[in-house]
Each structure stands twice: as structure tokens, then as C-alpha cells.
Symmetry: C2
């Protein structure tokens, strides 16, 4: 494909994306948030073998429209309230387009000087933007890096913690003693996965009790568990505290947890995958109280900060520890810049060797919106969630299940059992106007409404509420 072919097709595909985004926001909705598609339906429409000879882009676009789009869950839809959001934006897609075009593989500073340094500066910008501790800024011993996801951040935090807990012996000896890892019963599944991947086995994971009201980790329970494990001969290596748990956005009490970790000399990783974005608003920074205790911290601009997946921002207070845990230097990667020690080689901050130039999309987003624009976006989501919570609160057929410090509202039918709440969710989603998911809170089936799209409006919320009230009659 020549540059001139690409120019012509590129314009066409940019138009495709612009038209798609316009369709998503149309009222009434013409695209169902979740498509009525059966397993095997997409595969069944595709040839079983690749073409022998090249086909025109037009043929691919026709299949895109007829096979792919109708079988797509529309994460960018204003009625998408499931899981946590994963919103992109115009500037993010533009930045990613440049990244694709440059095709930089920035495993080393020398293979992508601009990719490396822009990433460092963007992560420093985010420290400023979120009011994070100065120890994460690259001007000192700390620093930040883009991971693909909070899962991978949890994994590398686990590895760095093992390296520290073993005084470096782990690199050579592996898991040579009984290490333990702590998170709350509400901690994310990626922590269990990280513990398994790191070879500790699930038996090493301690799910610390939460307060049944706030669903936040109980510091006394953490302290007791640490003491019991030490008494039993285990080596506590890592505590993962959460700001904004996946189920209900509970906030673990970092000031107390942090003190315990300092006393016990255990690595503290803070997972703020979803809720970290809220810290761009000064009035929401109370949610980050105690974060200065963290040895590592991450949040996902790809969830609630208008940056397309994948973009997890991860910081450590001591980058030397992380690099020592992860570095491997074969001859074919040696180069003059690395040997000076004056540069960052981000391959040593992550699991994979290769890496894309993901800082570009973040740069486009942060400059296009500016701090005030991003604050307006977060406040918009928080306000819509509050609007919805007020509607729930005012109707005695429903109840709020937990607080809603961010833009997630957990609710259910007040008198309803699990089955009636599950039916309500199924019926609500069936029409395709909105998509919500569920969780269990203290064992009970609970609906989750996570606002995130910049295209969601008061009218989207009000229409959803009308549907909910109507369906509640049937439940």
C-alpha cells in the first residue's frame, strides 16, 4: 500500500470512525449497547481460510459493517454503564494513529528516545495532575511507566516486593520460602492472578476482612493476619490496598494500612485502577489520603480519563528496585546509551520486552483537554451518578447498597430477592438502550451503574430511570 493509497483509505476510515461515533450518540439509539448475537455467529460468517490473493479495502469495510459492527459490544455508547468504563476520545485516537504510523518499538531509550522521554514526562505530569506524592516523580529515585493494565501493574509490584522481601535472593533462588500477600476480600481478581503467576500459589493470598458497612479493609484484621503469619514462619511480602474497589468503589483506609506496612516493612501497592482519575479534582483528593505511604501506585487513564485502552499509569517510589527485579541484559541489547546509565530503558519496568509508543495518546489527551477539561469530565460523571442515586433514594421500591464517592452507583430492589434483581437487570439490558452489570454485596445480588462516557447526559440517566421504574412493576 503506497502512502497515497493510505492517504485515501485513511480519510475514508477516519470518516467511518466519525460516523460511528455520531451513530452511537443518536437519539433514539440505533445501535444496541450489547448486540443480540449468538456464539459462533461471527465466525460462521467468515471464510475458513485466508484469501490467496489480496482484496480491496472496500471488501473489508463491507464486512466490517455487516459482520463486525453488529456483533460488537459498544463500550463507547452513552448507555454503557457496565463494569468500569473504558472510554476513548478523539485526541486519544489521533495520538494512537501517529503512534501506529511511526511504528516505534521503544524497548530501549536508544530505540525510541522520544517515546521514552515523552512517557517519563507524561507520568510526571500525571503526578502533578493527580496531586500524587512527589516521591513518584522522576526527578528523585522514583518514576512512572505505562503498563498495559492494572493487572500487569499488580504483577510487577508483586515481583519487586518479592525482590525486596528476599534481599534480592529471589532473582536466583525463586520462591524459596513461604511468602504471603494481602488484600481485602474486595480486592481485584488480578491480585489473585499475580500471586499465582509469581509462583506463590493461592495459598499465599490473605483476603483480609472488610468492614461490612464500608466494605473497606479493616486495619486491625490486617495487623492480626500479619502477626499470625509471621508467627507461623511466613514472610509477608506485599499488601495491596484499593482506592475504589471493582465491586463497589470502597476505599481502603490508607493512613492506617500505610503505617502498618511501614512498621512491618512490607511493600504497599495501591490499586486505584478506576478511581485514580478522580484525583484530578481537588475536591476528590480526600479519597487518596495516605497514598504517600505507597511503594507503588497505579491507575488507568484508559478507564475514566478519556485515553483509549491500553494505558495504565504505574509508579514506584524506588525505580532501582523495580529495575533490579526485572532486568535481563543480553549482548544483542547492549548499546552506548544504556551503558552510560543516564537513560531509562522501559523494558526493565515491565513483563514484555517490546513496547508501543503509548505516551503519544496520553499527550494528545492531556493537551487537548487540559487539567480543567479533565476535571469537567470527571465532575460530569460524578454529578450524573449523584443524580441517579438521588432518584433511587427517593423511590422506596429501590435502595442504595453502598456509598457512591465516584461515579458508580450500587443499588437493588428494596424488597427483592436475588432472582428478582437478576431478572430486572436482564430485562433492563434486553432493550439495548443501556447496559449495566452486577456484583454481590455481602452476598446479595446488586446492580451496578458505572457512568463514564462523556456522551452520557441527564436525559440518558432519566430515560434509564423511567425504564427501571417500569420494569420494577414486573419484577
Amino acid at each position: 500500500m503506497t502512502p497515497e493509497d493510505f492517504r485515501a483509505y485513511g480519510h475514508q476510515l477516519v470518516d467511518w470512525v466519525a460516523d460511528y461515533w455520531r451513530r452511537l450518540a443518536e437519539q433514539p439509539a440505533t445501535l444496541p449497547v450489547q448486540p443480540p448475537v449468538k456464539p459462533g455467529q461471527v465466525a460462521g460468517q467468515l471464510p475458513s481460510k485466508p484469501p490467496a490473493h489480496g482484496e480491496p479495502i472496500e471488501a473489508v469495510l463491507a464486512d466490517l459493517d455487516q459482520i463486525i459492527t453488529p456483533a460488537t459490544t459498544h463500550w463507547q455508547h452513552p448507555g454503557f454503564f457496565g463494569y468500569f468504563p473504558a472510554n476513548t476520545s478523539g485526541p486519544s485516537v489521533l495520538g494512537d494513529l501517529i503512534s501506529s504510523g511511526l511504528g516505534t518499538q521503544g524497548m530501549l531509550w536508544s530505540t525510541g528516545p522520544a517515546a521514552t522521554e515523552l512517557e517519563t514526562v507524561m507520568l510526571d505530569w500525571l503526578v502533578d495532575l493527580l496531586g500524587l506524592p512527589a516521591r513518584f516523580h522522576s526527578h528523585g529515585p522514583g518514576g512512572g511507566v505505562i503498563q498495559d493494565s492494572a493487572s500487569s501493574a499488580a504483577l510487577v509490584a508483586t515481583l519487586a516486593a518479592l525482590h525486596r522481601a528476599s534481599d534480592g535472593a529471589w532473582r536466583t533462588a525463586g520462591v524459596d520460602r513461604r511468602y504471603t500477600v494481602y488484600t481485602s476480600t474486595e480486592g481485584h481478581s488480578s491480585i489473585e492472578k499475580a500471586v499465582r503467576i509469581a509462583g506463590l500459589g493461592e495459598s499465599a493470598l490473605r483476603l483480609v476482612e472488610v468492614d461490612p458497612q464500608t466494605l473497606a479493609m479493616r486495619p486491625d484484621a490486617l495487623r492480626d493476619q500479619l502477626a499470625a503469619d509471621r508467627a507461623a514462619g511466613a514472610t509477608p511480602a506485599l499488601v495491596v490496598a484499593t482506592i475504589g474497589t471493582t465491586s463497589t468503589t470502597a476505599i481502603d483506609p490508607l493512613p492506617q494500612i500505610g503505617e502498618i506496612c511501614t512498621q512491618e516493612q512490607v511493600w504497599l501497592h495501591v490499586d486505584a485502577a478506576y478511581a485514580g482519575s478522580a484525583a484530578v479534582c481537588p475536591e476528590l483528593r480526600w479519597t487518596h489520603a495516605g497514598v504517600a505511604h505507597a511503594d507503588s501506585y497505579c491507575f488507568d487513564p484508559h478507564k475514566w480519563l478519556l485515553t483509549g485502552f491500553d494505558c495504565d499509569a504505574f509508579w514506584v517510589a524506588d525505580r532501582a528496585e523495580l529495575v533490579a527485579a526485572l532486568t535481563v541484559l543480553p549482548e544483542y541489547l547492549r548499546n552506548a546509551a544504556t551503558s552510560t546509565g543516564a537513560v531509562i530503558d522501559y523494558r526493565d519496568w515491565q513483563v514484555p520486552l517490546g513496547r508501543r509508543f503509548r505516551a503519544l495518546k496520553l499527550w494528545f489527551v492531556l493537551r487537548w483537554y487540559g487539567a480543567e477539561g479533565l476535571r469537567a469530565h470527571i465532575r460530569h460523571g460524578v454529578a450524573l451518578a449523584a443524580r441517579f442515586a438521588d432518584l433511587v433514594r427517593a423511590d422506596d421500591r429501590f435502595e442504595l447498597v453502598t456509598d457512591h464517592p465516584f461515579a458508580l452507583v450500587c443499588f437493588r430492589l428494596r424488597g427483592g430477592d436475588d432472582a428478582s434483581n437478576e431478572r430486572l437487570l436482564t430485562r433492563l439490558n434486553a432493550a439495548g438502550e443501556v447496559f449495566l452489570t452486577h456484583t454481590r454485596v455481602n452476598g446479595r445480588y446488586t446492580l451496578r451503574l458505572a457512568v463514564g462516557s462523556p456522551h452520557t447526559t441527564e436525559e440518558t440517566i432519566d430515560a434509564l430511570w423511567r425504564d427501571l421504574r417500569r420494569l420494577a412493576e414486573l419484577a
Copy 2:
């Protein structure tokens, strides 16, 4: 940013990419392959804090041109011969643009039915295209998935192998015995990293001797090492064989290694990260002899198959084993489709939970080029490498260091010591017309020329050769 803003800016940025690609191919070159940039130069030109208010895209584009592009190592340059290639193409960038615009997060089938099924079909297409064993096709117990890189593929293969070697005990108990992992002394550094991440420690890694001529693993040495380890009470868990080692593209003898792994009941992972693409050409499939023994196999379409980073294609012969090793199912991810068991949830095939819709770029590439187009691309690279090797062979000041079955040529000054070869490489790269990297072969400094760009021509090779001969006079 409205869809209409995006449309206008998008056209501008597509033009930027088209113009950039045109400039890369200009003769004489106007962009040096590796820029003359000092550490800190990019960061020093950027503000230390994010803007308070949004800025126009024009301002970002001006900085892109003045700060970023001049500090970029141009991986898509026709004179880029370093490492292994990481070539993208027009159709790949187009597919990725659609992926960015859709913003699908395909962690579950239900969150991206089209993303999931297109990925399965694309991986099946590649089985056909490369002539891989039918056991990797999804119609049986096997199947394929896109990983970010061969590093991550090596890691998940290690985890599945541990799961098997422990009869499933590893998930709960972790590394509860002395496992050993085998690759050759020429195996990729990611295997050492995977062993470390999995908690085995580097002491678990056995670097099996190679034949000093072919640099391929010696099956007898593997057999001896396995026997010695078993005798010492270790549990061999994984052998990683390589088709096309990073240093010199050596090919481990899979027929013999595979037989040993079958006898010893050890998981065999085959890493063909670079060289796998060659198998699209029937005349190069001899390099894959014995691959039917593999429990898992990977190659990187993002290296030599015109698909932008990241796109590693990874298969297992038994997907149930992989999923059993990696799955974690919290309540908030439960859904009707998953509970039927009729769908693939790719989150259980990888380390992270979230995932982009990467199958789209592969689909665009495979359809635009077709099998014949991709074969022509591979043959073009192989022929140019052969042309260069012939020039080296015909000049008694130089020598070929190894065979060149693919498109990598390893060479050096015949009489030169390490220092003179290193000087030669530094001088050759300094002009910015080409960029090569080095390795050590049997301890001796060796230059590597890896052809990969579709824009590299006979004239690029001949000009490089003229420079080399001129510089050899000075060495």
C-alpha cells in the same frame, strides 16, 4: 472533541502519516534512521507541568514535528536493519484505527463477541497460512490467541507447563518443588525473564549447549541435562526450542527435541518470534520440521508480517490446560455466555484482564495482501539478505559468520578484532543512512543485518555495501 472535529483533524493526521512514510522512503534520505539525540533532550523541551486549559491540536502537531519526530528512531525506515524488524503497513494502521475508534475491551466474549471470534478465526487462518499442525486449530482441543509479545507468550507457556508438571497443584501450592526449564545458550532473554517472573529463580534455568557451527541446541546435551536433573530430584517442566534465534537465526532440531520432550513428558514451547513469518512460504517450511511436537508455539506478525506492534500469535495444543492455569472468575465478571461454556473468554489466555481488538489489524493485513502478497514480501527480504550475503562472500576482507536461512545476515571483518568491528559498526551507523546492531557469536563481536522493511530495495543494500567497503579501509 466532536465527531466533526475528529473528522477534520483525523484527515490532517492521516496526511501526516502518509507524508512521514513518503519522507522515510526519499532518496537521498532526509531522516536519519537513528537520530543524533542526547539523553534529556526531549524532556528538556517539554513543559514540566500539564496545561491548565486545553490547547489546539495544531500546537501538539507543531511539537510533534519539532520535538518528537527529530528524536525518533525510525523503525519503518528502509535503512533500518537493527535487532529484528518491527514493520507495520498501511492496512495494519487502518485496522488499528478502527480498533481505536470502536474502543472495544474484549476481556470476555460477551464484552466483545466480534473481537473474540475474529481473533479465533484469524489465528485459525494463520495455522493454514503457515502450515502449522492442525492440533493448533480451534476446531479441536487447541487454539490460538494474540499476546502482546513473544515474552508474554513464553511466560504463559511457562505457567501452563508448571500447571501440568504439578498435576494442577501449582495453582494453590505455588512453586513447591524444584522445577527446571531448558533452552539453549542462544535462547531469548525473555525465557530467563519468564523463569524469574514465575518464581523459579534463575537457578532453575538450564542453558543447554549448542553445536558451535550451527548454534542449534544439541539434543544429546538436552537429554543428558534432563537425566542429571531428574537424578538430582528436580522436576523438568518446560523446554523452549527456538526457530530463528535472536542472535543469528539458528534453528534448534525440533524432530529430536520433540521426541525427547514426548518421552520425558515435558512441555515443549517453540519460540519462532521472528522466523515464524517465513513459514508462509512453502519453500521455507523446512525450518519448521518437527513443530508438530510442540505443546505451544508462537511467532510475531509484528516482526516480519507487516502487522504493527503489538501482535504475537500464540497457540496451544490443549486450550483447557492454559485456561485452567490462568482463570480467575470473580462475581462481577460472571455472565450468561461464559456460564454456557460455549464461548472463549480470552482474558483466561493471558496475563492482563483487559484487551484491545488487535485481530482487526491482522484481518486488514491478511486480506489486503493475501497469502501470495505476504509470500512476496518474505521472499523480497530473503532475496535482499542473500544479495548482501553474496557481496560479503565475494570480498575477502569480510566473512559470513553463520548461515542465513531467513533475512538476517551475520558478518564481520575477516581479520578484524572485536574493536575494529565495533568501530566499523559505529561509523556505519553514524551517517544515519542505515542502522545495524551487533551480537557476539562464539564470543566474537559480529554485525547483524536484518532485512524486513518492504521499502528496502536492492539499491539500499548496494549503497550500504559501498559504505561498508569504504569504511573497511579505515577500520
